[in-house]
Symmetry: C3
Subunit: 278 residues, 3 copies
């Protein structure tokens, strides 16, 4: 298959469809029908149902580990069948993103550098019958498959201006005299609480307190030490760490921090300077 | 690999084996050993354990979105190791189905048009040691892999008459003067209650009540409006819709209708004509 | 792609990362970047979190059903970021294993016949930035992908002696006058309780009691019959069987034995000789 030999990059899929039904599988069937030989990678179908922010964060943390021209097909779509547009985005980094215009694609596409956005309107590049309930199958999977096959993005529909699509903005941490106030933006499957505080912010803050201890406080209460590895903690003891997102996390070794602290997206998570000996 | 270039269609798998163990993975290992290069697609391994009807409905809703000659390997098999036969079915639409003769393949194969059925008895087309507990690995995966490679179905064993295999019959809705009485036949991972009432039945009924409202009633109690899109409902408010199955569903936007109504397969779900203004 | 045509064997992945996050997906992205065209197979990502023994058992039960030269990438890694070494193992059977040196690879590699072990230290065969929290992405996935591409294992780092890596030893059953005392070593997703008593041990024991009944006793209490197939039992009735592992299991047809008996890894499970008629 010449198409394939020239196109060894994957088509990678993220959804909140779960693993109980055929929804994700049917999308892969549509891809296989339109783009036979496309290497399909399931990133995750277990995004919490309807959670656009969780899907957007997962997509942002995933895209740069894939081959440059990968087509990402992402569907978390509580507004399916309403006026929200179906879109595709081409980026300067090479990655392409296909999904609903509800913020889901924004974090990743913005990081990859938005080059072109189109609204998916071409009737030749969707299934013949488009339902009001399953655009993943009827619109997004076909568009992603045609992009993988080399159809120019501009063929899929009219251009949209970057400022006209929905932007998902995560909260910024706030630095004050004695703390950086952040919040939990993501909870992973291990129960780790991932915050919006990245390493540069923490280092800037820490550099002001050479002779003090830094501590991490969750929900304004319990505080814990900042460690270098999960395995450095005792079992069952809470710890803070810069995790694989490059963001400050609160975790419990062999435990579940989200349950332990009854915390989730929106819970406060701060970096605090404590008095201490030199 | 010449075999592959001529056979770009996939081998697609549905089971109730879940994602905690190696059972589905081992089947894929057997397929890769016998049919190297076969593009394997996981449709779903999260079918509710031992639920033949759920598996049969998922397979029926999946097959027609795949390339024409796809081989479907389906295993929901509470009778493994007993007298129930292992079978393969060739259809007029091109799809092939491999699995236990317990009704699991019936709805899909019947829809695709049964052309030929064989009982999987050929010792050369199964693993050397066949266990009494895992025919998915020992019998079904090898048979599916050999079919994918181009082995004629008649090589796998003796023909069976279509009337001799187990037929899974879903209940039919009953239309009366003021309602169409249906029932829930499937609950998806979002908690949506999928009924056996399809659009033609509903339209025929509705056409008799031009001046009345149509309403959907679940378990003889709560009734709700028929909408065009999930997103047209308010969050948390129950709605009825023709979903991606083409069947009447009851759903709750950003909620779980199965839990809310304590309903599941077998619960009554009816379309009712109400008095109303013109 | 010549590499691919010569290498149709798969790269198969087992982790405890679950299906909610991008962790397993990102590993597949790294593999696709380094080894485009490698057929990736997800064995399971639902290993119970941090359970090295469960992962080791699943890997041991999987490897021999895959093509001979398959590369297995396994990550259950509570000690990530600490002193435990990252390793790769080449076996006499042909299979290659990549993962942490914490016992996870031991059962499978030992069964396949360990030929060579290396510590993964080569900076050219890992990602540029190695985190302290995600060696699956940063070290293991790259090493597995390079092995798949044909890079010699000795290029990945210095050799380790087999006696220097962590060995995971499962408990042995103990045969006495009237019973074989074993224990549960694995609980599968159906709730089946898999013991450490294999068929040869059971047959040796049984051959001494020609005129007595054999029974299986769980947690020193309830006892049940040894059957040939799950389907031979009535629904809801406990049974014992030699399952797909080739090990004695306790199961409940259409039920969950682990919940029913409140049993799990470590619970006693014995084969007992009862008095009986000839």
């Amino acid at each position: 298959m010449p198409t394939r030999a020239r196109n060894p990059f994957p088509l990678a899929i993220i959804t909140d469809f779960g693993y109980r039904d055929h929804y994700a599988g049917v999308m892969k069937g549509v891809v296989a029908s339109i783009a036979p030989g496309a290497p399909v990678i399931d990133i995750a179908h277990g995004i919490p149902a309807q959670s656009i922010a969780a899907g957007a964060i997962v997509l942002r943390e995933s895209w740069r580990y894939f081959p440059a021209r990968t087509v990402f097909l992402a569907v978390v779509d509580p507004g399916v069948g309403t006026a929200r547009a179906p879109i595709a985005i081409e980026t300067r980094a090479g990655a392409r993103f296909v999904g609903p215009d509800n913020g889901l694609l924004w974090l990743a596409a913005n990081q990859a550098g938005i080059k072109r956005i189109v609204k998916l309107t071409s009737p030749r590049h969707r299934l013949t019958d488009v339902s009001a309930t399953f655009h993943g199958r009827d619109i997004f999977a076909p568009a992603a498959a045609y992009l993988w096959r080399g159809v120019p993005i501009t063929t899929l529909g009219p251009a949209l201006r970057p400022t006209s699509i929905v932007q998902l903005v995560l909260p910024h941490p706030v630095e004050s005299a004695r703390e950086v106030r952040g919040e939990v933006i993501y909870v992973d499957g291990f129960g780790n609480l991932v915050s919006n505080i990245d390493r540069p912010v923490a280092e800037h803050f820490g550099s002001r307190f050479r002779h003090k201890y830094l501590s991490v406080r969750i929900r304004g209460g319990a505080s814990m030490r900042l460690l270098d590895a999960y395995g450095d903690a005792l079992k069952g003891v809470p710890l803070a760490i810069f995790g694989s997102f490059g963001l400050l996390e609160v975790a419990i070794r062999d435990g579940n921090a989200a349950m332990h602290f009854a915390a989730g997206p929106g819970s406060s998570l701060s970096l605090v300077a404590l008095e201490g000996r030199t």
